[in-house]
């Protein structure tokens, strides 16, 4: 297996991310999650139907439950773009090897160059999940690797743990990032 340490940790953190999302959405009753398969895919036992499987699927369900459809994007285009970035998160960011980290962050940097949020003019679920995903990527790097990264991306030190915009970080400031101690130890 050539999966990096950070991507394995990301998977174990999926449930923690969903709990943070519940808090962010103001959902009163916390859900109980299980995981499925070797990839530890989060599963939500749904009272209204069959269980829901997968980080993106469960995340979108929680947003609908909280009646916050604007977080899934505005209009058909907005919704498609949000789904695209959610897919990018679980396929590209989570599967990213250490060697690919720079490529991924460069792409995001280029995409976000003239943008505040991933999609449209307000925070969406795409910002939420990309916030967690990129955070894990950067924290998974050693100090030296991070320095090389900042240089190659032409970024300043504020890039430290988050390549995303200040607006996204402000919008999500009530969301606690997952504990990083274990990740730091491996960095």
């Amino acid at each position: 297996m050539r999966l990096s340490g950070s991507s394995l940790s990301v998977r174990n953190m999926a449930i923690r991310e969903l709990s943070s999302l519940e808090k962010y959405l103001g959902l009163k009753k916390p859900n109980k999650y299980t995981t499925q398969g070797d990839k530890k895919v989060p599963v939500l036992q749904n009272n209204d139907g069959p269980p829901l499987v997968g980080l993106v699927t469960v995340g979108c369900h929680l947003v609908r439950e909280a009646k916050r459809p604007e977080l899934l994007g505005d209009g058909a285009e907005g919704r498609a773009l949000v789904q695209q970035w959610l897919e990018y998160r679980v396929t590209k960011v989570d599967e990213c090897s250490k060697e690919d980290t720079r490529t991924i962050l460069k792409e995001l940097n280029a995409y976000l160059e003239d943008k505040v949020y991933f999609v449209g003019n307000q925070i969406t679920l795409a910002d939420f999940f990309m916030y967690f995903g990129t955070h894990s990527l950067i924290v998974g790097l050693s100090v030296q690797e991070r320095e090389q990264l900042y240089q190659s991306c032409g970024q300043q030190q504020q890039f430290e743990h988050q390549p995303l915009s200040q607006e996204i970080r402000d919008g999500l400031q009530s969301v606690p990032l997952p504990p990083l101690l274990m990740l730091r130890a491996t960095a």
């Binding site: 699927t57 897919e87 090897s97 995409y111």
Partner: protein
């Protein structure tokens, strides 16, 4: 709206089939495998759909989902769940299986590589008892999974093991004229060999990555 495609790429098959099935109004342009449509991505990403606003969708599942939504069929939670499973579970196994079959001439290894995801799909289709993945009408999930599996399941030179429910479902989707037409356009009736140039251009890292025998 404009859809950029390349030949021999099963992801482009998804996008074209979704377009033909939903009859969305959209221009189509074929570009070569190296065609760079999305400026910020480091590698060429196809298919790419230029939206009316000028923004670009560069993942095939998001394109399928969008085509169905603008034709009046909004994606359900179960549809989204299949699309996520396709991207995170089926694709890694498929990439490995196609690499073995198309580039290494090791088609005999395909059943072992692909059996986990196919068993999962088979179990769910048997339990669901509906013609299509999400009910009695075709959805974005059916098109995405059909196109992803098309190169393997339509080629008689490789075996994938027995999956009765998968075969039944696949034949339903495969029988749609929109799917036949799209497959002919994108894969040119050359089967697995029609994908050779595309497979050769895929990054080596995802080829060599082992896929755990996950059932999820």
């Amino acid at each position: 709206m404009k859809l950029f495609l390349s030949e021999g790429n099963p992801h482009c098959l998804k996008a074209l089939a979704a377009l033909v099935v939903t009859q969305a109004k959209c221009e189509v342009e074929y570009v070569n495998l190296e065609g760079k449509v999305v400026p910020f991505l480091s590698r060429p990403a196809l298919p790419a759909l230029m939206l009316p606003s000028g923004q670009v969708l560069f993942t095939s599942n998001a394109i399928c989902r969008y085509m169905f939504e603008i034709s009046g069929q909004e994606s359900s939670a179960i549809c989204d769940q299949w699309l996520e499973w396709e991207a995170t579970n089926l694709q890694p196994a498929l990439v490995q299986a196609l690499h073995a079959a198309v580039l290494q001439g090791r088609g005999s290894e395909v059943p072992k590589i692909i059996q986990g995801p196919l068993n999962y799909l088979d179990q769910n289709l048997s339990k669901g008892k509906t013609t299509y993945l999400t009910g009695e009408s075709v959805s974005a999930a059916d098109i995405a999974l059909w196109a992803a599996l098309f190169p393997l399941l339509s080629d008689s030179t490789v075996t994938t093991g027995e999956h009765k429910a998968v075969t039944l479902w696949f034949n339903h989707v495969n029988g749609m004229s929109a799917c036949q037409l799209s497959a002919q356009k994108v894969l040119q009736g050359k089967g697995l060999q029609g994908m050779k140039s595309y497979m050769q251009k895929q990054p080596q890292s995802s080829h060599s990555r082992e896929v755990p025998p996950s059932t999820s």
